[in-house]
């Protein structure tokens, strides 16, 4: 893995007007690959994620939000009041020289700031503007307000998540934002390729709820192919393919190929399961209650990591339910150099998760710690040609 100076996106200039998770994550993915990202934050309070728990040390502090720190390394921070005319003018100066702008406001906001795609494009025709929103920039739900709960509900994912006799439940943690940011990186890069080939920019419209719906690779064709509507499951047949109790935690016992069923029974130490009636997917559904009883009892006799490793050595597909503590201490992640230590003047020395892939010649690097609020305001404004007096005046007017 090479250093950040050899990142594939070296020289790509990105403006991050994002807040919370989706926009900042998208911009950080670009930054991780060498793009020069300027994060634009509103004066005084900054990105709302600075107020999001958890915090390093536990107490709320705008420079110690772990969500902010995680989503904003590799970026510089500029404070700018986009509602002021002077602030808007500076944004347009930045847009003039940028390649990509990422934002995740509600769709009406950029236009209300006088920063719609047409305006930005007039300033810089090669600019790629990526707008990430809950439902997209068009359609009757365009202006609906939403967060991850609403996105998960409308996406369809909740309708199959949870138990039949209880309420639908969403994914844990704030997944919708990460999904939106990750999905946003794709059309952004496609547009960057077009920009390189033709010099033309374009507007990229990413819908978080549609990205979540994209994960319903069975639910959608169950309906279009058979007219069947998937629902939440009864808690039966759980021991196989869902979280089941081991002696010291939880595992997911799973092996999709029926040919390995005998091996599976040996690994979990349950010869009574070798009955062919349990071997097929069909049979497991038909005999779900009995399977739960026999398999559940067998799994509960084992330690989770011993079972996980033994099953995988025997080529049985098997998962272990890892907690955040397990992940933090995972030898696999350590050996893959997934965690990176960064010093930060307020939050101190912390370990940060990093790359999802390694590349043989270029790729992920952390070249900058997360910025303090407005840390690079003077530096960036000087680069734009503003004089020291000019910058002082803008500061007095609270534009920056």
């Amino acid at each position: 893995m090479a250093a950040g100076s050899d990142g594939p996106l070296e020289g790509l200039k990105v403006l991050d007007l994002g807040h919370q998770i989706a926009g900042p994550y998208c911009a950080r993915l670009l930054a991780d690959q060498g793009a020069e990202v300027i994060k634009i934050e509103r004066p005084v309070t900054g990105d709302v994620s600075r107020a999001m728990a958890p915090f390093a040390g536990g107490e709320p502090h705008p420079e110690k939000s772990l969500t902010f720190l995680y989503l904003n390394y590799n970026k510089r921070s500029l404070t700018l009041d986009l509602k002021s005319e002077a602030g808007r003018k500076i944004l347009l100066e930045l847009a003039h020289d940028a390649d990509v702008l990422v934002e995740n406001f509600e769709p009406r906001v950029m236009a209300s700031l006088g920063l719609d795609f047409k305006t930005l494009s007039a300033v810089n025709p090669k600019l790629v503007v990526t707008s990430i929103s809950n439902f997209g920039q068009t359609g009757p739900r365009r202006d609906w307000r939403a967060n991850d709960l609403i996105d998960y509900a409308v996406s369809g994912v909740m309708s199959i998540s949870g138990y039949a006799q209880r309420e639908p439940v969403k994914h844990g943690y704030f997944q919708a934002g990460y999904v939106g940011g990750l999905a946003g990186s794709i059309p952004t890069m496609a547009a960057v390729l077009v920009q390189g080939a033709t010099g033309r920019g374009q507007h990229v419209d990413v819908a978080i709820s549609e990205a979540l719906t994209s994960t319903l690779l069975l639910t959608v064709p169950y309906y279009t192919y058979m007219g069947e509507t998937q629902t939440r499951r009864a808690p039966v047949g759980e021991a196989f393919g869902n979280c089941a109790r081991a002696r010291d935690g939880w595992v997911v016992a799973h092996s999709p190929r029926s040919g390995e069923w005998g091996d599976f029974c040996d690994v979990v130490g349950a010869p009574e399961l070798k009955d062919p009636k349990f071997a097929t997917a069909r049979g497991k559904i038909a005999n779900a209650a009995e399977l739960d009883e026999l398999l559940g009892a067998a799994l509960a006799r084992h330690e989770r990591f011993a079972l996980f490793e033994e099953a995988n050595r025997k080529k049985i597909l098997f998962g272990v339910v890892q907690t955040p503590e397990d992940l933090a201490n995972c030898a696999q992640l350590a050996e893959r150099h997934f965690f990176h230590e960064i010093d930060h003047p307020a939050a101190g020395r912390l370990r940060y998760p990093g790359q999802t892939f390694d590349a043989s010649e270029s790729g992920f690097a952390i070249s900058r710690r997360p910025p303090l609020l407005g840390e690079h305001t003077d530096e960036i404004l000087s680069e734009l040609g503003h004089s020291r007096q000019d910058i002082e005046r803008l500061r007095e007017l609270r534009v920056v």
Binding site: P8, P54, T67, F117, G136, T138, G139, P140, W144, N147, I150, A153, V154, M158, S159, E167, V169, H171, G172, Y173, L182, A183, G184, I186, V194, R200, H203, V204, E210, T213, S214, T215, L216, L217, T219, V220, P221, Y223, T224, Y225, M226, E228, T229, Q230, A234, V252, A281, R282, A286, L317, G319, Q322, P324, Q332, L333, A347, Y352, F357, D358, A359
Partner: protein, 449 residues
Amino acid sequence: MSGDMKVQDLPLAGVRVIDASHVFAVPYATGLLADLGAEVIKIQAHTRMDVMAGHGPFPENIPGERAWDRVGSLNTVNRGKLGLSLDLTKPEAIEIFRRLVRVSDVLAESFTPRVMKKLGLDYAALRDIRPELIMLSNTGYGHSGPWREYGSVATSLEATSGMCWLSGYEDGPPSKIGQSYTDFLACWNAVYALLLSLHRRRRTGRGQWIDLSMYQTGAATLGPVIMDYFANGKVAGRMGNRNPDMAPHNVYRCAGEDRWIAIAVDSDEAWRALIEAMRRPAWAGDTRLADARGRIQYSGLVDEHLSAWTAGQHAEALATRLQNAGIMAGVVENGRDLLHDEQLRVRNFLEAVRHPPEAGIGERRYIGRPWKLSGAALAITRPAPQLGEHNREVLTKLLGYSDAEVDAMKKSQVIGNEIVTANKVQPLHLEGMRRNHRIGQPDSDYRKA
């Protein structure tokens, strides 16, 4: 399908991709590349069926004689591709593969680390014959580390990557949510990594190898949770539908079979708007609920009040009414709802694709893409290929084999159009699934949706 779309205007026009992968993550990634205009050649196997094939769904739940061509999930991810079936245990097939690599830009594969090496198709070998090649290898845990040879599917990775621990009811066990979630994280990461590498190649002329770890794609979405352990020694738990800063923040039952509305109140202003929408019930004077802190403390009570109010109401109408009042709300849509959803229809998110008559599938709607480009009309460019459908076309037109050579390959079963050794695939056990609440009541009008 938009038949008049010009493929040459698309972002990946002129890019050739080999898809040598199975199940969902990489096939979906290369399907999305096809939507962006790449020419994607899917390497299929006529010696065995994809592990997902037996899971269907099949049109009208009829697997038929060629079940492998009739799987709804696989036909979603393999859209837009040409199908070339190769028996990679035969040296002739390896030679075809290598010839194909020589004229391709991208190879994406998802074998365990030792397989490609054993076949002589690992990056070190292929770089020699195609130096500009961009190759992506997707595995459960990556090509290094103690778990590198562990096989995996999303079902196991959702657990291992930490997602299951955090998902489920706040008062219940860890749980799987949705379906094969990690596959999609890996899929999107794969597309991003490939587009980055194409961008870099246009600048530097150099290819590279990408070692993608599905496990890491999952753990990366839990960054602050893992950091909370590092920084504070805290192990986060399950929150169900709740939010640490908002209440109400949950789903509430409405009129009808399994109809629910999600409601999230993010400010006191939104709370007062909700009280107004509820026509100021008697309990509205309860001062404990006036601010977020109190509502969070008494969230059980808040949920009781809201459930009593939503029960018997029409979920769709109520969601619209609350949104008009500035309150975050939405219906918990199910599979049927998605196919009748006006927002998705306006955005053509679930695209109609017509299969050739011999496939016996007709026209079906498929999941499109969660993004739009103002400069290019993206669409599914063709239905998923039938097994070996483009064998002759790819071998003669692209790789320069003669028709006689192709005939000989067919005779020696280097290529093929059907899976001879396959057991007859059974229809899905729908009544058993209905009994176990995997599916609800069937809808006879589904072909019209």
